[in-house]
Amino acid sequence: MDNGAMRRGGEWLKQVLSGPAGRAFIALVLVALVGVIFNAEGAFYKIATHRDALRQASVYGILACGMTLVIIGGGIDLAVGSILALVAVSCATLAIHWNWSSWLAIPACLLIGGCCGGLSGFTAARLRVQPFIATLAMMVFARGMAKYVSGGMKVSTAVQNPDGTYRYVDVPPLFEAIDRRILGDTVPVVTLIFAACLAVAWAALAWHRWGRQIYAIGGNEEAARLSGVPVVFAKLWAYVMSGVFAGVAGICQAAQEHQGDPEAGVGYELIAIAMVVMGGTSLMGGRGGMGLTLLGVLTIGYLDKILSINAVPEAGRLMLTGTIIVAAVLTQRRRRS
């Protein structure tokens, strides 16, 4: 055995574990360990359990992708849950009632999401309204829009005839395509969409000029401005991207429910924020990343799944999740050096 290599390996491990990624990883491992111990008579070892855990976490995860971008830039986006609902009812209207093809419906839905994000971004970045307030307003506004578009009712495959009776139409192919599992029934399409969103957000953050600018703004906005970073533009883009991701999540939500529910997505923004924070991205901005968010999404997603296969009632599940979020964030807190 090479002692030096072992010591170097130990150092490396210590270094990794002391960073936010290491700590987020430990949290995930602990949750997995809980799953192994409380495996609900082997249910935890079934592939269907993991498949469902990932599927259920996917919509939240897509929202968390956009949320990460905004939070790294020093902001917050409370509107994503409402934008999800607005896009879900729009998507259902376009695909079910108006029979739009997917090639038109998807871009239209993403445009709606992007415009909502752009509006809250404009309010926050250009008009300098606090992000919390700007997106809170958008949250209320988009919810209202969702109810306006849907007439306050679920947009489903039950279509009203001119004489007042209802007839059922087919589920549109777009919804069926998304609400499917591929690769021998193992991988849900929504999980793939989540992975794609993660990849896009990751590439933008890690490899695009804009990513560097948004880290700089979150870390020290004044220094970034004095270094020539287009602060307003970069922040605006973060909100636009968050809105587009909320649009993607809205399409997925509608596809999975086979309808557009104007009440969908209530409180989703808070779960997305919890996932981002759980991963170790700082709410102060400037620090974090998509890898961390993936860990956060998995941790909270699995935690929920493990509690549910053990038949913990929802009341207990929520209380436990809340407790664990606090515990995780306490361990993530940066120690003053």
């Binding site: 695009h208 000029r209 870390g219 020290n220 401005r225 004095l226 270094s227 970073v229």
Partner: protein, 530 residues
């Protein structure tokens, strides 16, 4: 001066006070006394230790060597509250009033009059009115303090101090935000307080104020007490000598370079930090910097020198007036981005607050200003960034294990080098340096002096602000001096002496003998001669 039986003891006596921050000694064996009924002016250059001394008296700094007596009894206030309980109130430059709260609530903040837990508004207002009347003020005490003018707020602050049985009042540059009549009112009030037996410690950088109200003057220099004398026995020339004092040995060799064409020209340039409707912090500046030249901007706190650079750099957006020419072409710079595109770089005076993104790596910071050029098409080229960082950082002598280290983990000197590297990245033609050597050790300072020689040899023009007099005089080819936002003097290298620069900075020496700004013709003559 003390003259009656009741004033046998000073209100405050500090003896042998020494204060260290880590390895740096900022005060060394300082003695300081305040007697009843006197205005004791504390004078000294920036960094002489005035604020530190006041913070010890006011209970902000609690670990120091030496003794502090209040009313003849040993005291060691551990907080501003404890200092206030001893009768010592410090009126800071940033006032400690709560803007949206009413005058009376502010006066009674922390000692609210209550009955059974409920606030007794009536008596509070009555007492506040009585207190203000004693100071010759009549205000609606129910109005929020933020609705009053700066001077009135300062009076309210003083009233607040007096409401707590205060007999030592420390004022740290109280007139920096006041206009002429407001200053008169403040000085009247100070006269009244003296009459009531209060001792007043007054810090100012303005010679005319010292001449008007000082009874006694104590001068600090580099953390040491130079001397203390009744105001009448200390003419202003002598006072300036006390403040400057040190020998100027040529520590930093400045290789006078060949001067090239005019790089920057300002005509009647004014800066309004709060936008066009606010107050101008810099007014009617005429200035010219040539390629290869270092022009030093001298001035004490509140002179507006930093705002001059920020305004020029576009940091205040539209908040500038006047003509700016870069290399003979008129330009209008409204954002830092435009300044950078024009080849102008600004090293700010606070690298942690406005210079660097501490949470990002060395490479990320060193490439931040040049990111557009380094990422054609929008996608970053990490390898290119590394090479570009290497190119600017290597000559700065930054020694570090890896360029991926967070900047927050570096020493002050190395952080400053990263901040400089960021600006070298854009290949600037005009460098605006605001306190380039603040808070770094002597070795790193000399490296930066050396670099400044190199840059000017390459034809870069430098506009330099530094609060260290020897640095200013040794590095500048020409010095302009600002006082309250206006140029009060301009010296070439040979005629700039510490005494003359300091008296201009304190407002005693003026251009053309009065406050008139030079006409463009005069300006031309002077710059051509220089």
């Amino acid at each position: 001066m003390p003259d009656s039986a009741s004033t046998l003891a000073p209100l405050v006596r500090m003896t042998g006070v020494t204060k260290r921050f880590g390895p740096v000694t900022v005060l060394r064996q300082v003695d300081f006394e305040v007697w009843p009924g006197e205005v004791h002016v504390l004078a000294g250059e920036n960094g002489a230790g005035k604020s530190t001394l006041i913070k010890i008296l006011g209970g902000v700094h609690t670990d120091f060597e030496g003794s502090l007596e209040v009313h003849g009894r040993p005291a060691r206030p551990r907080s501003p509250t404890e200092a206030a309980a001893l009768g010592v109130s410090v009126i800071h430059q940033e006032l400690s009033l709560v803007g949206p709260m009413s005058v009376s609530d502010n006066i009674f903040l922390g000692q609210t009059l209550t009955r059974g837990g409920w606030v007794r508004d009536g008596p509070q207002r009555q007492q506040t009115r009585r207190l203000l009347a004693e100071l010759g003020l009549e205000l609606d005490v129910r109005r929020p303090v933020e609705e009053f003018a700066m001077a009135t707020r300062q009076m309210i602050e003083i009233a607040k101090a007096l409401s707590r049985r205060t007999d030592v009042i420390v004022m740290d540059e109280p007139t920096s935000a006041l206009n002429g009549p407001e200053v008169d009112r403040l000085f009247n009030l100070i006269g009244q307080l003296k009459g009531q037996g209060c001792g007043i410690v007054y810090i100012t950088h303005k010679m005319e104020e010292i001449e008007r109200i000082a009874d006694r003057i104590t001068v600090l220099r580099d953390g040491v007490r130079v001397g203390s004398a009744p105001a009448g026995q200390l003419p202003s020339a002598e006072l300036i000598r006390w403040m400057v004092g040190r020998e100027l040995n040529e520590q930093f060799p400045r290789h006078t370079p060949r001067l090239g064409a005019e790089r920057l020209r300002l005509e009647n340039f004014s800066v309004y930090p709060e936008g066009g409707s606010g107050r101008a912090s810099v007014q009617g500046i005429n200035l010219s910097v040539r390629s290869g030249e270092i022009v030093g901007v001298g001035g004490l706190q509140g002179s507006g020198a930093s705002d001059l650079l920020l305004g020029l750099f576009g940091a205040y957006g539209d908040g500038t007036r006047g003509r700016v020419q870069l290399e003979g072409r008129p330009v209008r710079i409204r954002a830092p981005r435009q300044a950078i595109a024009a080849g102008v770089a600004l090293l700010t005076n606070d690298r942690k607050a406005t210079g660097l993104v501490l949470s990002l790596s060395i490479v990320a910071n060193a490439t931040l200003a040049g990111l557009n050029r380094l990422s054609p098409g929008g996608w970053r080229r990490p390898r290119l960034e590394e090479v570009a960082s290497e190119r600017v950082i290597r000559p700065l002598g930054l020694r570090t294990a890896s360029f991926d280290l967070e900047v927050g983990a570096l020493s002050g000197g190395n952080q400053q080098k990263v901040a400089i590297a960021k600006w070298l990245q854009i290949e600037p033609r005009l460098l605006l340096l605001d306190e380039p050597t603040r808070g770094i050790d002597i070795g790193a300072k000399h490296e930066i002096y050396h670099l400044m020689n190199q840059w000017t040899a390459q034809g870069i023009a430098i506009l330099l602000i530094t609060s260290e007099m020897p640095e200013l005089l040794a590095l500048s080819d020409r010095v302009i001096v600002l006082h309250r936002g206006r140029v009060t003097a301009e010296f070439d290298r040979a005629s700039a002496t510490p005494e003359r620069v300091l008296s201009a900075a304190m407002g005693t020496e003026r251009l053309s003998g009065n406050q008139r700004d030079p006409t463009p013709a005069e300006f031309d003559r002077r710059t051509q001669a220089g």
